[in-house]
């Protein structure tokens, strides 16, 4: 009979909380957007599904063994852990967890031993998060694959477009200011959190996840969701801004044909870039190092089988687990927070500012360069490869049916990836050297 009771007490319904209901609704929305509306499905399908799993009550798939024992465990184990932490049994689980895991390593060890002997294990998603994101590996592996998929030809044919990629990063830092500004409305972000939020403006998923995992792991879920959702919304966010800041004439500018770039240049470029990163910004070397490795494997032409694998099996496998791991951060207690609304609001602002900065930079450059740049390609500087470049191309054709900007826009587009990786490095460097704000 009490088996039946135990069985009932172990059901999800018995443990269901309103927060989890809401999060499940949100995750279903993400899946709908990904599958029906084509919002970055490669990431949002695993993320959304991971979010579903993370919010299934009592399953504790996103919990570490200790957290699982505290939240879903028997009262006995709860009491044991509270005692171990030297706290009352009525203390909040979160407090006990913090005491056990962030104190002395011995204490953590002991707690671990206790729960494991009681048969509690790390949840599936928690393991994925630890292996894929906390280790920092998955975003780097993705970058190897992205590098192997990237053709720097257009950028090498017209290097000055790199500056458009630089300007567009203004969205990142303006958003940091914005995040800090929000603290006047009672939303207290630390400088680390503000920086992590700003990176949304980089419009580059792996970079955003990498930075968030280092500076503000608790916000990672919201940041990743915002980054990927807004990347998918680029075709809606950018055009009005681009039109507002350009004249019909400017949009009609036809750029000169790009020269063909020699294989040799393409092979040497990733090495040149890596050297420069190494000299100036060591904290950006993991991201850009991985990116350059992938690109070198692609262009060298002597390791096609490695390059193919990096572009397919490797990046796909990593994407599945990266997505699920991000989903583990969509647990109600972490996501359902006024901060999330702030993050979503700031994120779209970041995209807007970045777009505007790119366009204005292009117009500014036209004051000096003799080969005029079509300002529409400036917006591609936010990266969001290749969506943003396609948007530039579309608006270009609207202005002048003979004006194909796609190739021209690919330059700033990939420059944007480099730019946000650099921005990521700077923020990690500065913030990690600051006294905790």
């Amino acid at each position: 009979m009490d088996t039946l009771l135990r069985l009932w007490q172990s059901t999800g319904i018995y443990h269901m909380q309103s927060g989890q209901m809401i999060m499940i609704g949100i995750c279903l929305l993400l899946l709908f957007l990904a599958i029906r509306k084509g919002f970055e499905p490669m990431l949002l399908v695993p993320i959304g599904f991971g979010g579903l799993l993370a919010n299934l009550p009592a399953a504790g798939l996103a919990f570490s063994a200790i957290e699982h024992a505290l939240v879903n465990g028997t009262p006995e184990i709860g009491a044991t852990l509270a005692q171990l932490a030297g706290l009352g049994t009525d203390t909040a689980d979160a407090t006990i967890y913090k005491t056990l895991t962030q104190g002395e390593p011995e204490l953590h060890q002991a707690a671990l031993h206790t729960v494991q002997t009681a048969g509690y294990n790390d949840g599936m998603l928690y393991t994925f998060y630890k292996v894929a994101i906390a280790s920092g590996i998955a975003p780097l592996v993705i970058f190897i694959g992205v590098g192997a998929m990237t053709d720097f030809g257009p950028l090498l044919a017209n290097p000055k477009t790199l500056l458009l990629g630089a300007a567009a990063q203004f969205g990142i830092f303006a958003t940091v200011m914005g995040a800090v500004g929000l603290s006047y409305f009672g939303m207290d972000f630390t400088i680390a959190e503000a920086a992590a939020i700003g990176i949304i403006g980089g419009a580059d998923g792996p970079t955003a996840i990498y930075v968030a995992s280092k500076l503000a792991p608790d916000l990672l879920g919201a940041i990743a969701v915002a980054a990927y959702s807004y990347m998918a919304l680029v075709p809606l966010i950018q055009p009005p801004i681009m039109r507002a800041l350009t004249t019909q004439a400017e949009r009609g500018i036809v750029m000169q044909q790009l020269r063909t770039v020699s294989k040799r240049e393409k092979i040497i470029f990733p090495i040149v870039m890596l050297a420069l990163v190494g000299l100036i910004l060591p904290d950006a070397t993991p991201l850009l190092g991985a990116f350059c490795l992938g690109n070198l494997m692609r262009e060298s032409g002597v390791v096609d089988r490695l390059s193919d694998t990096a572009q397919n099996a490797l990046i796909n496998i990593t994407t599945i687990f990266l997505g699920l791991a991000v989903g583990s951060k969509l647990a109600a207690d972490k996501f359902l927070d006024p901060k999330t609304l702030g993050i979503l609001a700031l994120g779209i602002v970041a995209f807007g500012i970045g777009t505007a900065a790119g366009v204005l930079m292009a117009k500014a450059m036209n004051l000096f360069c003799k080969h005029k740049i079509n300002p529409l390609i400036g917006s591609a500087g936010v990266s969001a490869v290749p969506m943003a470049a396609r948007v530039s191309n579309k608006l270009g054709l609207q202005a002048n049916p003979q004006n194909y900007l796609l190739m021209h826009a690919m330059g700033p587009n990939v420059a944007g990836v480099i730019g946000s990786a650099i921005a990521a490095g700077v923020m990690i460097t500065i913030v990690s050297n600051l006294p905790a704000g």
């Binding site: 950028l155 090498l156 290097p159 000055k160 790199l162 500056l163 990629g165 630089a166 990063q169 203004f170 990142i172 830092f173 303006a174 940091v176 200011m177 995040a179 800090v180 603290s183 006047y184 630390t190 400088i191 503000a194 920086a195 700003g198 063909t260 770039v261 020699s262 294989k263 040799r264 240049e265 040497i268 470029f269 040149v272 870039m273 420069l276 990163v277 100036i280 910004l281 032409g301 420059a415 480099i418 730019g419 650099i422 921005a423 700077v426 923020m427 500065i430 913030v431 600051l434 704000g437």
Partner: protein
């Protein structure tokens, strides 16, 4: 406290954008240097691009149906093997 927070954010803005611009400007110079160097020392016809070119044309060349057949073949090739 708020003040310092703002200062820190402002520092981030200034030095962040600064570094980004410095870096990418240097990269522009480096790339120009590299290209000029390579083009002068190893002047190359379009040959280099050939493989890429052919690849592209090739993939454009084959009509959808052929492609469908081939992809189907690949899938069949995969499906043939029983569940792992």
């Amino acid at each position: 406290m708020q003040a310092t927070l703002l200062e820190q954010a402002f520092d981030l803005l200034i030095f962040g954008m600064g570094t980004v611009f410095v870096f990418l400007t240097l990269l522009v110079f480096a790339v120009n240097l590299m290209s000029r160097f390579i083009q002068s020392f190893f002047p190359e016809p379009v040959i280099e691009e050939a493989p890429v070119a052919t690849r592209k044309t090739a993939s454009d060349a084959i009509d959808p149906t052929t492609l469908a057949v081939i992809q189907a073949a690949i899938r069949q090739h995969r499906d043939k093997q029983s569940r792992g």
